[in-house]
């Protein structure tokens, strides 16, 4: 893994008199104080973040928190007042804070492309020519750019709409055109500024799935702005939460849900659905907390179910009502159809809560969790209820 975008101590200040505002920032004044004193708006304050190649980094926050300002600094649409913003270009890192117009244009046409919230399609161009727009800016001939645009249109499933004008398409389709236009540049880094916010919830979900599907194939580096934590948790490899121009927490989705750093993040987290976020490891009951009878560990006393493991933590056998249970190793390729009532499933602790619940529903039994070193814990009904009721928030997963 290498770094695709590296941001260090970045400030974005809007307005004509940037210098006095920067001095006030250095003195530790707040955003509000600076607006009152100088009339300059601080968009982003002291942001530092690294985005690895191939990951989806979501910038999350309420409107006005500076997430879009930070995103737009990456391709130079917003001025960088202070700090460093490095974007990978082949073997070197280009600093967008001080590069000249030609370098900026090179970065925009070859390295970084963008998808807009309100689609920003040219209303007078056909869908095909909209996708080819970026290539046209590079001076690529009509036949060649249309051929390449057509490939990308096929990728988003809109090749039959190539000759239509944008306004003849639905919102969801228009944003697919926006996606295809960004893909047509064949750049590795994609900036997405609340791309799905203007769409209705069903279409939004569908496009999120499509984006994840495309990302599996294309493996781009994506910086994605969203005000919706569920969306961020669903698509983000990492999430950076912003509040009044600062990044206040940056981490994996699960870390953010389990350890919100302050009240602001906790409020966001309280309204999210844990099913898509939490992993078995943070839900499970550890083996040390299970009731033990010699080498037998009790799964459920009422049902008289238990399992046996050796000293190395390897599962030997399991039974319910004196009958041996069939064991099943859960892999990422497994399907629920492989499971019967009464099959005891052993899965990785990285299993998602949704998957574990599905297994519990299918088999009627708890799910055992095992990593390379041996069994580590078990997911029982109580663990699921605990998470569904939001009782895990703010507590340490251990």
């Amino acid at each position: 893994m290498s770094v695709a975008v590296s941001i260090k101590n970045l400030d974005v200040v809007f307005g004509k008199k940037v210098k006095p505002a920067l001095e006030l920032l250095a003195q530790g004044k707040t955003r509000q104080e600076i607006i009152e004193a100088t009339g300059q708006v601080v968009g982003v304050q002291d942001a530092s973040i690294e985005v690895q190649r191939g990951e989806i980094c979501v910038l999350m926050g309420l409107s006005g928190s500076g997430k879009s300002s930070l995103l737009r600094a990456v391709n130079g649409l917003n001025p960088i007042s202070r700090g460093e913003l490095l974007v990978q270009d082949g073997d070197e890192m280009v600093n967008m804070a001080n590069c000249d117009a030609n370098t900026l244009r090179h970065m925009r046409s070859k390295r970084v492309s963008m998808v807009f919230q309100k689609f920003a399609l040219m209303p007078w161009l056909s869908v095909l020519d909209n996708v080819a727009f970026g290539l046209e800016m590079q001076g690529i001939g009509k036949a060649e750019r249309r051929r390449r645009a057509m490939e990308k249109l096929e990728m988003v499933g809109l090749d039959k709409w190539a000759r239509k004008l944008p306004h003849e398409l639905s919102g969801g389709m228009q944003q697919r055109v926006g996606l295809a236009r960004a893909f047509a540049m064949d750049s590795d880094i994609l900036l997405m500024d609340e791309p799905f916010s203007a769409l209705d919830p069903l279409i939004r979900n569908q496009l999120q799935d499509e984006l994840l599907e495309l990302q599996r194939k294309l493996n781009k580096t994506i910086i994605f702005v969203s005000h919706d934590l569920d969306e961020a948790l669903k698509i983000g490899t990492h999430i950076a939460i912003m509040e009044s121009a600062r990044i206040i927490q940056h981490g994996r989705p699960e870390d953010i849900v389990l350890n919100p750093c302050n009240e602001y993040v906790r409020n966001f987290v309280a309204h999210t659905n844990p099913l898509n976020v939490l992993k078995g490891r943070s839900l499970m009951t550890g083996l040390d907390q299970l009731e033990r009878l010699d080498e037998m560990l009790v799964l459920n006393r009422e049902e008289n179910s238990w399992f046996k493991m050796d000293a190395q933590g390897q599962l030997l056998s399991a039974s319910r009502q004196e009958t041996a249970l069939q064991l099943h190793q859960w892999e990422s390729s497994s399907t629920l159809n492989d499971l019967n009532e009464g099959t005891l499933v052993v899965a990785s602790p990285d299993i998602s809560m949704r998957e574990a619940l599905e297994i519990r529903y299918q088999t009627g039994l708890p799910v055992l969790l095992r990593e390379a070193s041996g069994l580590v814990g078990v997911l029982r009904d109580r663990d699921f209820y605990h998470a569904l009721l939001g009782k895990h928030f703010g507590t340490d997963p251990a």
């Binding site: 391709n75 963008m114 807009f116 309100k118 800016m137 236009r181």
Partner: protein
Amino acid sequence: MNWFTDHKIPLGSWMELFVDWLTTHAAGFFDTIAISLEWLILNMVAIFQWFPVYVPILMTAALAWLLHRSLGLVIFVVAALLLILNLGYWQEMLETFVLVLAATTLSVVLGLPIGVLAAHKPWVYTILRPILDLMQTIPTFVYLIPTLVLFGLGVVPGLISTIIFAIAAPIRLTYLGISKVPEELIEAGKAFGATPMKLLLKVELPAAMPNIMAGITQCIMLSLSMVVIAALVGADGLGKPVVRALNTVNISQGFEAGLAIVLVAIILDRICKAPNAKEEA
């Protein structure tokens, strides 16, 4: 109070001095413009006259059909042109048409870049706005005098006066159109690596096109409304018989020439205007 009125500010004399200075020092410049413009217009009229009369009629009808697909309009255009031919104003109609065409072309060629510049540089528009207001409100006869002095009698002072009157429309509407281009389209252009020139040609101008077209249509109609004034300084065309009719109190000639002007105006308006109206609806 007498003292105040006795000491008149010599604004008029200053203007006269300025025009005098121009006539003595820049005579060559103005003569060159006058000669080349006159040559251009006379030759264009000659070209149109060289065709048999049915060619321009058929071409106009074909244009009306191509742009609007309306049989009614085609019939009207043909009937109107035949009526003008029948009344004996064919030659004058061609001259007027060429004058309007030349005035509009020059207004657009000059006005479009000025409008774009004004939209990009706020200070240009600050300076430009009072000038445009002045050009549109000052009575035409007032600047007819200096143009007459500078360019001599004939079609050129008529053309220049027409341009002064009509150029504000393309400038204003180009300015409006370019200023109104949605910010997100500009951002999209920049984000995909457009140079400033490509941004102008591929984003701003196409986005402003409905406004620019409206400006051109307005410019055509404003130019046509100057036909009679242009005739006063010696420009040929449908204005001439009107002026002559006025001087000789000739009701029938005045009516016929006036009708011909109205017909030309309706033809130009219907052919130019409707496509924009449809787009805006």
